[in-house]
């Protein structure tokens, strides 16, 4: 579905006409990312990150397939096979570092994409399904990234697998059998490494499938925009191509510049030294930390230190950690405000920025050892995290009085360009 004024696909060349009759892929592309898809004209740079996340996934899939040609998923040789890639495979060091840092770049753009959605209310009707599928993608990414980190079979791979699969043992009665079933043994071993490799290869293609659904669901109502006002007529939109293909091309260039700087100039900055030590089940690292993109959730896990209501602290932590992501599934119904864009939400705006600061604080706490003041900071940070989504947001969305909003996207755009733009309140 699209807007009535969307430019119809009219193949001119006989070959394209022939193709359109047999298998209308050019029509699909034309209507999905070509001139046949009208997009709000006022998208800002934060709308680049969806395309960038797609680019990051493709980079991960391509580098990953090449790595799999040289990697051996066996505990006896996995570590050295990675070093073989780094030393002996042609440009192997580049492929491996690109894959390693590509995961970080993927999470950076996805986190920006998620916070963009939070700020501009992209999770609200009519885009709830887009948001729900996005949370599914986020969960799949976390699983894929975790299993990928286990593959080099270094110390942090092994102990990370030990700690994360250990979450399941917190479940009463069935926890330990479930954990052993997941690991294929009592501790992470060859069975674990093999199944993680298999799943690490599978899941990116599942992600790709859910991304197609995510984009499909998006194309039904069309993109949200910084005003949060739905498209009303043709002058509110521009065709995706060439307007947003050009803008995404520039965004892709900036993304790749950052990616290249990280990959070539500081490839180990976001990693852990311990993962260059081969896995050793008899030697526990002094400080087991997950990859940076898991740190806020790890801080929530560690914040629960008290056995409350017959549930012990560890199980509280595990439940809270999963809940901290699962609550995102309910976000479209927790926030009842009809106003999407935080630009017009004077009260919620404060809480949004506190949430950003809170997640960053939790990230720092997750990195630190279980010592004061980091324990109390992660407890306070976790309190705010849950309070924000489950208590504050539902209340704020009820009591808040939104700012006056323009009548249409075009009105907002023209007001911004009016000679006395300063006199038009909050129309940016």
């Amino acid at each position: 579905m699209s807007f009535p004024w969307a430019k119809p696909y009219e193949p001119q060349h006989p070959l394209m006409k022939w193709m359109d009759e047999k298998l209308p892929i050019p029509r699909l592309v034309y209507n999905a990312t070509g001139p046949g898809y009208p997009v709000p004209r006022n998208l800002n740079y934060f709308w680049n990150f969806g395309v960038l996340a797609g680019a990051a996934l493709m980079i991960q899939i391509i580098t990953g397939i090449i790595l799999a040609m040289h990697y051996a998923a066996n505990v006896g040789v996995a570590f050295n096979s990675v070093e073989h890639i780094m030393r002996d495979v042609n440009a192997g060091w580049f492929i491996r570092y690109a894959h390693m840092n590509g995961a970080s770049m993927f999470f950076i753009v996805v986190y920006l994409h998620i916070f963009r959605g939070l700020y501009y209310g992209s999770y609200k009707a009519p885009r709830e399904m887009v948001w729900l599928l996005g949370v599914v993608i986020f969960l799949l990414m976390m699983a894929t990234a975790f299993m990928g980190y286990v593959l080099p079979w270094g110390q942090m791979s092994f102990w990370g697998a030990q700690v994360i699969t250990g979450f399941f043992s917190a479940i009463p009665i069935v926890g330990e059998p479930v954990r052993q079933w997941l690991l294929g043994g009592f501790v992470p071993d060859n069975a674990t490494l093999n199944r993680f490799f298999s799943l690490h290869y599978l899941l990116p293609f599942v992600i790709l499938g859910v991304i197609i659904l995510h984009i499909w669901a998006l194309h039904i109502p069309g993109s949200n925009n910084p005003t949060g006002i739905e498209v009303k007529d043709e002058q509110d939109t521009v065709p995706f191509h060439p307007y947003y293909t050009a803008k995404d091309g520039f965004g892709l260039g900036v993304f790749l510049l950052v990616f290249v700087a990280l990959t070539f100039f500081s490839p180990n900055m976001l990693g852990h030294a311990d993962n260059y030590i081969p896995a050793n089940s008899l030697s526990t690292p002094a400080h087991i930390v997950p990859e940076w993109y898991f740190l806020p959730f790890y801080a929530i896990l560690k914040a629960f230190t008290f056995n409350f209501l017959w549930i012990d602290a560890k199980l509280w932590g595990v439940i809270a950690m999963f809940a901290s992501i699962a609550l995102l599934f309910f976000l479209p119904w927790l926030d009842s405000s009809p106003v999407k864009s935080t630009t017009y939400r004077p009260l919620y705006r404060w809480f949004f920025w506190v949430l950003v600061a809170d997640v960053l604080l939790l990230g720092v706490c997750g990195m630190m050892p279980a010592e004061q003041p980091w324990v109390i900071l992660s407890q306070l940070g976790s309190i705010y995290y849950f309070a924000h989504f489950l208590v504050i947001l539902p209340i704020v969305s009820r009591i808040e009085r939104p700012l006056p909003m323009p009548n249409s996207i075009t009105e907002a755009v023209l007001a911004k360009h009016a000679p006395d733009a300063a006199s038009v309140p909050a129309a940016a």
């Binding site: 050295n80 780094m86 091309g249 510049l257 409350f308 809940a323 119904w333 003041p373 306070l380």
Partner: protein, 269 residues
């Protein structure tokens, strides 16, 4: 329905966290060892930074230190003799160097365990046949493989350099429980303060072919530089390729920006 239930769930988590705050002591258990551990000293090498190069003379000296000192206990499993052509040796020199090592083999006629002269394709042979032998010879501590050591330790090359030059007598105010036990040696750069490796370098321990004075500091620098190379032989190439890719993409990005501005020139947004 979602909002009242969410509210209750939220209150549950918040209550558990508030109780956790009030039951967690605000003071850390004191850790005396922390106050004696020192931050590593910075070591500047030619391979640092954004325009790195290999100081081949230094890498050759470092390899000499590894061969004459470290290799008595530490393996270098990931490095092949052929790799040391990077350090400025010719193919002939590499073959001769390899020949100087005996590597494990089998007798081609009887199948019995034997040794043979090293070939350029062989890796540096390990000093111990297995972990048990390594433990038995080293007071139950396994000397780690050095191939990746500068990447495998917090602090990297600075840590290795500081550790090699950091051996000293324990300070007088060191509590008794932190004093080095039998077979352990005090070094404030080591996270546990006491390690099984004895001071490995002493002035004049090796004789450099290029006449450089073999002070402890010099040898530590050289061998650390060598271990930076063993940890990542492609380091210099990596940064050089990085600049080429970066400038290529910079031009792409500028062109992409100009075409973006051009296409949007007639659209207010």
């Amino acid at each position: 329905m979602v909002r009242p239930l969410g509210f209750l769930v939220g209150l549950g988590f918040i209550t558990a966290l508030v109780l956790a705050i009030f039951t967690t002591p605000l003071k850390n258990e004191p850790n005396v060892a922390y106050s004696f551990v020192k931050e590593p000293r910075h070591l500047k090498l030619a391979s640092d930074g954004l325009v790195p190069h290999w100081d081949k003379a230094q890498l050759q000296r470092g390899m000499q230190v590894y061969k004459e000192v470290c290799s008595a206990c530490h393996s270098l499993n990931l490095v092949a003799f052929r790799n040391i052509q990077d350090l400025g040796y010719t193919e002939g020199q590499v073959k001769t160097f390899a020949k100087g090592f005996q590597v494990p083999s089998i007798n081609p006629d009887t199948g019995e365990v034997a040794t043979r002269d090293g070939l350029a394709s062989d890796h540096f042979p390990a000093p111990y046949a297995n972990e048990v032998a390594a433990r038995a010879a080293n007071n139950n501590a396994i000397p780690p493989d050095l191939s990746l050591i500068t990447k495998a330790r917090e602090g990297g090359k600075d840590y290795i350099y500081s550790l090699l030059t950091g051996y000293q007598n324990p300070p007088a105010n060191l509590p008794a429980e932190l004093k080095p036990g039998t077979g352990l040696h005090y070094n404030p750069y080591f996270p546990n303060l006491n390690l099984a490796m004895a001071k490995p370098l002493n002035d004049g321990q090796v004789t450099y072919a290029d006449g450089t004075k073999a002070s402890v500091d010099q040898m530590a620098k050289d061998v650390t530089a060598f271990l930076v190379w063993t940890a990542e032989p492609k380091l210099v190439k990596r940064v050089q390729v990085g600049w080429a890719v970066f400038f290529f993409l910079l031009i792409f990005t500028v062109l992409a920006y100009l075409s973006y501005r051009n296409i949007w020139a007639d659209k207010k947004h």
